[in-house]
């Protein structure tokens, strides 16, 4: 990855994080922790990898992204606004009456949202259906889905995994956001889905493990996924819940609570400092 591209992607990821804080602060609710952990992968997909056209969100030949962990919509909205699907000014309307930015993604209301999600386990199946449609049509379309690690406790995820591998949907690439925290505690404290890589391998997936906050590893993983033929890919990205905001990192209580004014200001200051570093880098 060349330095300029890396710099641009890191700037985009940081701006997505700022949108997460901005949105959840004004909404006084939402899910900042898991939104912050997927900012890098969203930046890479929306600003580099995916074949999309923000001026034509319904372009039939576009690649698709399904945010199966729909509660982290603030990050998706941040990426879509930054990419030009709708104005940045919409971000503070998150979760408010009459905003198109619903608490969980609504494909009917928000330009660029490819699937309505929020009920865990369903998005990955819908993405599998989209990948099947692309195979039937014989085009180049690829489909991405981002799942939470806690979401793996939903049986439907494994129904989808079985189907995707059986139908050899190599145009499907799912990302497991492995931040090891869910509402009631660590994964292991709640109901362990471990070992995650072995499970996906057993289901017939090409499995790639990366650091979720290393842009070069992210790029290499998605390129490897695209090169893999005959099976779907699962990228398991080890992430830090709350990544980028010091007091939110690895804290389970930031799964579903919003920053107050003081916390908002501190978080934004930290992110602005990161942004400045990236912008000044050569």
């Amino acid at each position: 990855m060349d330095a300029l591209k890396k710099k641009q992607l890191l700037i985009a990821a940081t701006k997505i994080r700022m949108a997460v804080i901005e949105g959840t602060y004004h909404a006084k609710s939402g899910h900042p922790g898991g939104s912050l952990s997927i900012a890098d992968v969203l930046a890479f997909l929306y600003f580099d990898k995916m074949r999309i056209d923000p001026s034509n969100p319904a372009w039939p030949e576009r690649d698709r992204l399904v945010l199966s962990k729909g509660h982290t919509a603030p990050a998706l909205y941040g990426a879509l606004a930054l990419r030009g699907y709708f104005p940045q000014d919409d971000i503070p309307t998150l979760r408010k009456v009459d905003s198109h930015l619903q608490g969980h993604p609504d494909m009917k209301g928000t330009p660029g949202v490819d699937m309505t999600t929020g009920s865990l386990g369903q998005g990955v199946s819908a993405a599998t259906g989209m990948a099947l449609a692309a195979k039937i049509d014989g085009g180049q379309r690829r489909v991405y889905a981002i799942l939470g690690d806690g979401e793996l406790e939903e049986g439907q995820v494994w129904e989808a995994a079985m189907f995707a591998a059986h139908k050899k949907l190599d145009n499907l690439c799912i990302v497991i956001d492995y931040n090891d925290l869910q509402i009631d505690g660590t994964l292991d404290e709640v109901n362990s889905p471990y070992p995650i890589p072995e499970k996906f391998k057993a289901f017939g997936f090409n499995v790639i493990e990366i650091d979720a906050h290393d842009m070069e590893q992210i790029e290499a993983a998605f390129n490897a996924a695209e090169a893999c033929k005959g099976k779907p890919t699962a990228i398991i990205q080890k992430s830090i819940k709350g990544k980028g905001v010091s007091f939110m990192e690895n804290q389970v209580n930031w799964h579903g609570s919003a920053p107050n004014k003081e916390q908002y200001e501190q978080a934004m200051n930290e992110l602005k400092a990161q942004l400045k570093l990236y912008e000044e880098a050569v």
């Binding site: 039939p60 698709r64 399904v66 609504d106 494909m107 009917k108 490819d114 699937m115 309505t116 929020g118 009920s119 386990g121 369903q122 998005g123 199946s125 819908a126 993405a127 599998t128 259906g129 989209m130 990948a131 099947l132 449609a133 692309a134 039937i136 049509d137 379309r141 049986g155 439907q156 129904e159 989808a160 079985m162 189907f163 059986h166 139908k167």
Partner: protein
């Protein structure tokens, strides 16, 4: 009108899919390891490339159907009513209903007439479940002719639809001249004393009931409500106003189905006694379908007797 030829609506479902495939090149059919029973096997044989078996995973199937439909496919997703409306309810609600994706659900083996398989497979709650989803169209055809016509109609519908079909061979009531329109009830018999409003396999029983009542000098109006949602309020309220008493008949729990829908409609603007014939809020049991229909009162004879009850209430008012 009623013929002696009998055929199950699920048979028509399989044949109808083949008919639709020629007209709609984007038609995809999904099943969940029940193709032989739902009769999608007929389609599978004719169009193997457009048929996908999801295996015994109905929840995944419904969300896959949604994903396919967002990518330009016209999808029929098939299973037994129990596993479509029941097991996959939340997938239908959130992946299909809320985004109003035009997936068509072909739910066979609805009701008590599943027979010997017993209560676990006799779904008498599906209409109630599907009615509670905003924007869901629910059609319960009375015979094979209406099934095929309903299938053609839902293909042109820009929203989700639930087609309720049966396992049991039932009388063919209509010929090709029969006009089907989504949301329109059809008056099959004229009468001003009492109205029998029926759906699905109980439409033929309603016609039998009218014959029995005729012998007692009672003129019953018979209305076929195949589209349970959106309900044809006009024909229901007209029946209420003109006959002053209603009996509903359905192969479904009396809670939440056609009977409830009719009660809701008449209570608001044209209150008249409504007596509901259906499964009386209980689970079924194993047995031959025809015997079960007798045991649970889903017969012309019982509908006729309930019509007299409705008339007695009307007389007291």
């Amino acid at each position: 009108m009623a013929g002696t030829v009998k055929k199950a609506t699920r048979e028509a479902y399989g044949e109808g899919l083949v008919e639709l495939a020629a007209k709609y090149p984007n038609l995809i059919v999904l099943d969940s390891d029940l193709a032989a029973a739902t009769k999608t096997v007929t389609f599978k044989k004719a169009y193997p490339d457009r048929f996908f078996d999801c295996g015994i995973a109905e929840q995944n199937m419904m969300s896959i159907a949604a994903g396919l439909a967002t990518s330009g496919k016209q999808v029929f997703a098939s299973s037994f009513a129990m596993f479509a409306a029941g097991r996959a309810f939340e997938q239908i609600r959130n992946s299909i209903g809320y985004p109003h994706i035009p997936v068509k659900i072909g739910a066979t083996h609805a009701g008590i007439s599943v027979g010997e398989d017993g209560a676990t497979h006799q779904c008498c709650e599906d209409i109630a479940l599907m009615r509670s989803i905003p924007g869901m169209t629910i059609i319960c055809p009375a015979d094979v002719v209406e099934t095929i016509k309903a299938m053609h109609a839902v293909m042109e519908l820009n929203g989700p639809a639930y087609l309720r079909l049966g396992r049991l061979a039932v009388p063919v009531l209509f010929d090709n001249a029969y006009e089907f329109k989504i949301g329109k009830g059809v008056q099959l018999l004229e009468g001003d004393d009492v109205s029998i409003i029926a759906t699905g396999i109980l439409v033929s029983a309603a016609l039998e009931a009218a014959e029995i009542l005729k012998d007692d000098g009672i003129k019953a109006r018979v209305i076929n409500i195949s589209t349970i949602k959106p309900l044809d309020k006009e024909i229901v309220l007209k029946a209420a106003a003109e006959t002053g008493a209603i009996v509903t008949a359905e192969e479904h729990n009396i809670i939440g189905g056609l009977g409830s829908a009719v009660c809701e409609a008449v209570c608001e603007t044209q209150p008249v006694p409504v007596v509901r014939v259906g499964i009386n809020d209980e689970f079924g049991k194993s047995g031959p379908a025809l015997e079960l229909l007798e045991i649970y009162g889903l017969t012309g004879k019982n509908i006729a007797s309930k019509a007299k009850e409705a008339l007695a209430i009307k007389a007291k008012a």
